[in-house]
């Protein structure tokens, strides 16, 4: 069993053709997911039960079930209903891409909102008290004190979630999307060379992960320039 390097050299460019799809899935759902996460967070900390509850339910469901199941429910399950097929959203929900984005967004939104909530809870109470003592309103305290500090605190966990999201995009291949994973599986089914193909694809993903980690590391370093050496201000 020799490792077929020629095959690797031949296949990598083919797999990389799927990187566009991978990136589209990643960045679009990350962006939409972040918006959703902020919305969910605000609902969670609003103090009003009719906002807080739905948010908690969403988070509970999307963190408590496998993302593969979520993808399948949206792509294969929703068409079961006539009202879905008749709705204005059908053009999106009919397409695997739209479904994948929807599933990934709903999923990452749930996780990230909890991460942001952790950040908000981590803001030093004393800092907020000082703001209150100076006469800042609740809204002012949130915008000028909580948000900047919570964002920095959330960053490490957020970068982990971003990487998880990238890995989750590979699941889009299960609903026919042609990303790197999808192309790889096709090649393997044709060549019966799982080691060569999958290992080289794994290396591609690892490189992407490394790039993401380095980027977030830079951002963290910049935001932490005013932080004590132990790591917490």
């Amino acid at each position: 069993m020799i490792f077929d390097f020629e095959l690797v050299a031949d296949s990598i460019p083919k797999m990389l053709m799927g990187i566009g799809m991978t990136f589209q899935l990643l960045f679009l759902s990350a962006f939409l997911g972040l918006i959703l996460a902020i919305l969910l967070l605000l609902m969670r900390i609003s103090g009003k039960w009719y906002l807080s509850w739905p948010a908690q339910v969403h988070i509970y469901i999307f963190r408590g079930t496998p993302i593969l199941v979520q993808i399948f429910i949206i792509y294969y399950g929703l068409p079961q209903f006539e009202f879905i097929r008749d709705s204005i959203f059908w053009p999106i929900l009919r397409e695997p891409f739209g479904c994948a984005i929807l599933a990934l967004t709903l999923n990452t939104g749930a996780y990230v909102s909890e991460i942001l909530r952790g950040g908000v809870l981590g803001v030093d109470r004393g800092v907020l008290e000082a703001g209150a003592a100076l006469g800042l309103s609740a809204r002012q305290k949130f915008i000028y004190l909580t948000v900047p500090i919570a964002a920095r605190l959330s960053l490490p966990a957020y970068s982990n979630d971003f990487i998880s999201l990238m890995k989750a995009t590979a699941l889009a291949s299960t609903i026919t999307l042609v990303d790197m994973m999808g192309i790889a599986r096709t090649i393997v089914s044709q060549t019966f060379a799982p080691y060569e193909i999958f290992i080289s694809l794994a290396i591609v993903y690892m490189i992407l992960t490394w790039i993401i980690q380095k980027t977030f590391g830079r951002i963290e370093k910049y935001l932490s320039r005013y932080v004590k050496p132990e790591g917490l201000a």
Binding site: I61, R63, P66, Y76, A170, Y205
Partner: protein
């Protein structure tokens, strides 16, 4: 909902499979996690490098990729070997159960490595010094001081790892494991109700994750009893 009748049996046994995978992979995860953490904390450069490689590989690769690689790779190897003895062989694989368990055990184990390592480092040096000063042996210090504190520190993340384990089980259906997700695909072929069937799977997994979350919350409460301050 009537569509589901007749399939409850299959879903039940599918759930049993999920639990079996959970237990088996949990054991592997703890094993790999402890070994990895020990390697990273040791002074042995080679061990550190291997452990670092382990975490980088399994945290940077999609779960589905690891799963397919392990399963099809080992199948390819086994088939090739068996072909040497019996040219008629078409396809030999390791049972999806074991391929899947190994895959998710390795993956979540790499996250557990960091968790255990962090927990070990989180034990206050002062407590350890105090134990030594009181005359306790290394082993005693480890058992009575280090481990309880490590467990308390690791618990929240450990809970998350357990949740990952149980949810990753759904992936193994892709290589044919007869758990709930797999069952639902058959049910759909028969009833034509994909939404219903997948929702059932979702509910089953939601139940599992809820139980795990509650169990962890209970353990956290118990473990933090000594941290509750008097008013």
């Amino acid at each position: 909902m009537e569509a589901v009748t007749g399939w409850w049996d299959d879903y039940f046994w599918g759930s049993v499979v999920v639990l079996q995978v959970f237990v088996a992979s949990l054991i592997l995860m703890v094993l790999f996690g402890l070994i990895g953490a020990a390697a990273k904390l040791s002074h042995n450069r080679i061990a550190q490098k291997i452990a670092a490689g382990y975490t980088v590989v399994f945290r940077g690769t999609p779960e589905i990729l690891v799963l397919l690689l392990l399963y099809f790779g080992s199948a390819e190897t086994l088939t090739a070997i068996t072909k040497l003895f019996n040219p008629e062989t078409k396809f030999v694989d390791i049972p999806p159960f074991w391929a899947g368990t190994l895959a998710i055990g390795l993956i979540v184990g790499s996250y557990a490595t960091e968790t255990f390592r962090g927990a070990f480092l989180g034990v206050k040096p002062g407590s350890v010094e105090a134990a030594r000063a009181l005359g306790m042996s290394n082993l005693q210090t480890f058992i009575y001081v280090r481990i309880p504190e490590m467990w308390r520190l690791a618990l929240p993340s450990f809970g998350n790892h357990m949740l990952s384990l149980i949810k990753d089980t759904a992936l193994i259906s892709i290589i044919g494991l007869n758990e709930t997700f797999f069952v639902s695909k058959q049910a759909i072929a028969s009833t034509g109700k994909p939404f219903t069937m997948y929702i059932v799977v979702g509910c089953i997994y939601l139940t599992f994750s809820t139980v795990i979350t509650l169990a962890v919350m209970g353990m956290e409460k118990y473990g933090n009893k000594h941290m509750e301050t008097a008013r």
